[in-house]
Symmetry: C2
Subunit: 346 residues, 2 copies
DNA sequence: CTGTTAGCGCGTTCAT
DNA sequence: ATGAACGCGCTAACAG
């Protein structure tokens, strides 16, 4: 028989509910006679006792559940992060309520309300929008928050991020070593911390290598999607300014860029090199296999969850953890075409 | 101020908590004076009242939360299903606790325990294992269960499935029309309903077209993974029995098969055609673009959640819904090589 | 060491 | 139409 409760165990063991509660909780077990504790545990097992976390939560104000706000689970970046989150949480007996936000402010608000209503002990937020009024409100109420793969203007939230600037620096070093000079950037949305950080790193690299800043070679994507990548590269082509390499804000934008190149019969990497960011699953199985920056997705989630648990349990102070990245050189990057041999736009 | 509770609203509105409860619940609102109800609602809004679902659950035995058991979120099939689940649930004010099971019995048990402990109102199970003792136990306790993308031996669970046999029939018709006669099958795990159904459909098609059953051309995968697909195709090659086409149990197995072909320098589709199942995201961006059977992933999840809500609310009877599939012909299938022009194994 | 009591927030019954 | 009281399952404070 499953679904037994404290009262059932108490009755069967011939003791009071309070004693059962103490005996079953490792933290308070020492306060009860060893023999009776053993008997209670035996009875609990026999009766199939399972704690009712709802009841416990009402009393302890702890649901042992956290809310996870994910922009879009169908972006292969996030399932890996979620796996990390899940594994870290499980060790502590926690569970995650996972919701998709589509980076949509309205939807995000609804989800936060649904999660708050369920008394989650904290939030893991991988949604990227920076101007996050909703986030501000929950931190102000003192609910622990950790943001993942983004920074937060709010000093009350911890953060786990990948080293965006190092990643872009590695990309640029790679492209410059190949001989590229006219490098375009498909920047991520301006209201995301990754979009901002990567653009900044891109510009810093231009300076580092003495390359000219050309505003016509930077296009802002309105979202981190394949479709946005396609639109941006079309825009780039329309502007007519020659380039031999494209640094995309993330892998999905890079995929969209590849589509646009293909539809214009511009071979990659022969005439234009393309680089992504994140190294999503399948990036290496595309044609051409995508050169990209690998971010430690699982660790991002795992560390984020650990940080959150620390905040919940020990109210530990706010911190920001930056994880290292790795440039994965594959087939979408190559030396630029020789001048006069068909450089696009020249 | 957010986080107000019934008592706060009652105090401010100068009425009793019970009245506030009735006024705020649309179902019981009619039982309270229209004017006071309006006042209460106004006060609730002003104070930022949010129902505490934990408290409500303790009383109503409804957490408005369901558990979702997913084998592996990093398989792109599942995020799409989850999106459907989420959208259907949200309309009813429900939320999903999503967990990865890895199709591992131990892990599945732990997850079910964690979810049961949180008093979920029902389960959505996309895990594929058939001999599901744990599932049996929860249905026996009367907890509503819907299985997704699999059938269940247990008559107490509803199911939403894709039309596996139609899908395989379409695949076989396609291959036969191209001229294939020696068709191999990388069957999914034997303890999954999809693995069984697709193998059965494969064999039925052999009969239909008068093709010989060759047991050497059927290999069982131990899991639905890329690695398993690679292992299986290597095994197939080792057996030395010639074949010109491979019908894989799902897309991941097909990807693994493509890897094994590549490592043996067997060009696809020139010498061997490969077909997958599911049409995961990115299937069309692979090289070669994968011919596969598209299953309506979002609908699978959405219908599954609807069925579950029906069971929770109206205790509606068990049913099985089969959704239609579509063959997506892409670049991984072509006519078999002409005899004598390098057919593998001949 | 253990029993008793109280209360977390809510919905519902029973009075009035 | 509304107030009062109870209890869902659990833990924590207090007695003894």
């Amino acid at each position: 028989m499953a679904g037994a409760k404290l009262a059932d165990v108490a009755l069967e063991a011939g003791v009071h509910v309070g004693t059962v509660s103490r005996a079953l909780n490792p933290a308070t077990r020492s306060r009860v006679n060893a023999e009776t504790a053993a008997r209670i545990i035996e009875v609990a097992q026999r009766l199939g006792y399972e704690v009712n976390i709802t009841g416990r939560a009402l009393r302890t104000q702890r649901t042992q559940t956290v809310g996870a706000l994910i922009p879009d689970l169908t972006n292969p970046l996030f399932p890996r992060i979620v796996r990390g989150v899940e594994d870290s949480l499980e060790k502590a007996g926690y569970t995650a309520l996972i919701t998709n936000t589509d980076n949509d402010a309205q939807r995000e608000r609804r989800m936060i309300a649904a999660l708050t209503s369920r008394q989650v002990d904290g939030f893991l937020i991988a949604s990227a929008r920076l101007d996050d009024q909703a986030l501000k409100e929950i931190t102000e109420e003192g609910v622990p928050v950790v943001v993942i793969n983004r920074t937060s203007a709010d000093a009350r939230a911890s953060a786990v991020i990948a080293d965006d600037s190092q990643g872009i620096a590695d990309v640029m070093a790679h492209l410059v070593a190949l001989g590229h000079e006219r490098i375009a950037h498909l920047a991520g949305p301006g209201d995301t911390s990754t979009g901002q950080a990567r653009l900044k790193a891109f510009e810093a690299a231009l300076d580092r290598y003495g390359l000219q800043h050309r505003s016509e070679l930077v296009v802002r994507a309105e979202a981190y999607t394949i479709a946005a990548g396609t639109r941006c590269l079309r825009e780039l082509l329309k502007r007519g300014n020659p380039f031999t390499a494209v640094v995309a804000g993330n892998d999905l934008l890079a995929l969209g860029a590849l589509d646009a190149l293909k539809e214009n019969r511009i071979p990659c990497p022969e005439r234009v090199s393309v680089v992504g960011f994140n190294d999503i699953d399948f990036a290496e199985r595309l044609s051409p296999a995508l050169t990209t920056v690998r971010v430690p997705k699982y660790e991002l989630g795992a560390r984020g969850a650990e940080l959150l648990l620390d905040m919940i349990y020990s109210g530990r102070e706010i911190s920001t953890v930056t994880l290292p990245v790795t440039l994965m050189i594959r087939d979408s990057t190559a030396p630029p075409p020789l001048p006069g041999t068909g450089l696009f736009g020249l």
